[in-house]
């Protein structure tokens, strides 16, 4: 169950994926508010203004991709909890993201249970 006032920011250029993640987050009670951003630039901007408890970050996006956005967010807030979302298990990208400070990653296509478990685990981290 989410803590009152907890926020998750979903950054993905595909509105379908944002909807799927939003539904999973809401149905699992992982956050009271789910914010959305359609690319890396919007994602960084949204992070600055709303300081969410967790960010799910797609890797492949136009304008700023997920790695660039992750780097910018970690600069703003080194304690940020970012979970990368990749459409395929690109080992190098996942390794780069983890080195930059991402807490975990989800591989598309994903099932609802896995997403719920990963987000719940990262939300509980300090």
């Amino acid at each position: 169950m989410s803590a009152p006032g907890s926020k998750i920011l979903v950054v993905d250029d595909a509105s379908f994926m944002r909807t799927v993640l939003k539904d999973i987050i809401k149905s699992n009670g992982l956050a009271t508010e789910v914010l959305e951003a359609g690319d890396g630039v919007e994602g960084v901007k949204a992070y600055k203004t709303s300081k969410p408890n967790l960010v799910t970050m797609d890797v492949n996006m136009p304008r700023a991709d997920g790695i660039q956005a992750l780097r910018a967010i970690m600069k703003i807030d080194p304690t940020a909890k970012v979970v990368m979302v990749t459409s395929f298990e690109q080992k190098q990208i996942v390794q780069d993201a983890m080195k930059l400070g991402a807490r975990d990653y989800i591989v598309k296509p994903f099932d609802k249970t896995t997403v719920g478990l990963v987000i719940n685990k990262v939300m509980r981290q300090k």
Binding site: D13, A14, S15, F16, M17, T19, N60, P62, T86, S87, F88, E89, Q90, K108, P109, F110, D111
Partner: protein
Amino acid sequence: MQTLAVTENELSRITEIFSKCVSNSTVGALGTLLGEPVQHHIGKTEFLDITQLDQLTPAFSDGTNMSAVYLKQSGDIDVGVMYYMPEKDGKRFAAKLLGKKRLDSFTKISKSSLSETGNILSGSFFNALANDQGCKTSADIPGFAVDSFMSVLEIPAMEIGIESQSLVACSAEFSSSSGLKLRMLMILDPQNAKKLLEKH
């Protein structure tokens, strides 16, 4: 520009690579997306002149519009991939992804769901290709269209085959247990087909 010939032996080796990556990754990814078992069938790899696109049969009835997603992969090799199905099946497919009973027309989110399906299937396919062949590529943003088969095929075919005036085309057909059908068409020019085989 002189057209490179692609031999029957090379075509069957490409079929083998294509088949392996589809079986090992794409089928499973589609099954997970749809939440149901998926069967597949690999077609014959063809080498054809760009003026003979009509040799590529749509695998569905000719007179109907197709809903199609096209992506270009670039990197060690340049490849075009198109996923398509009859328009009405596209609506059924999107409805299933969105958890709806039916869809009367393509909305923004339903188009996004089909584009993302193309993205995910290509991601799994090219990840398998990278693991098996050491052939690394990255994807463009997918494009979605509804039109006749020849119209949706023309733009990617021209983009890939304009210089060589010829194409190598591999295809796979997927069918789910609830009767949803989807076809994947991978097209590359002869030079990139040979690069793929060199990597093998």
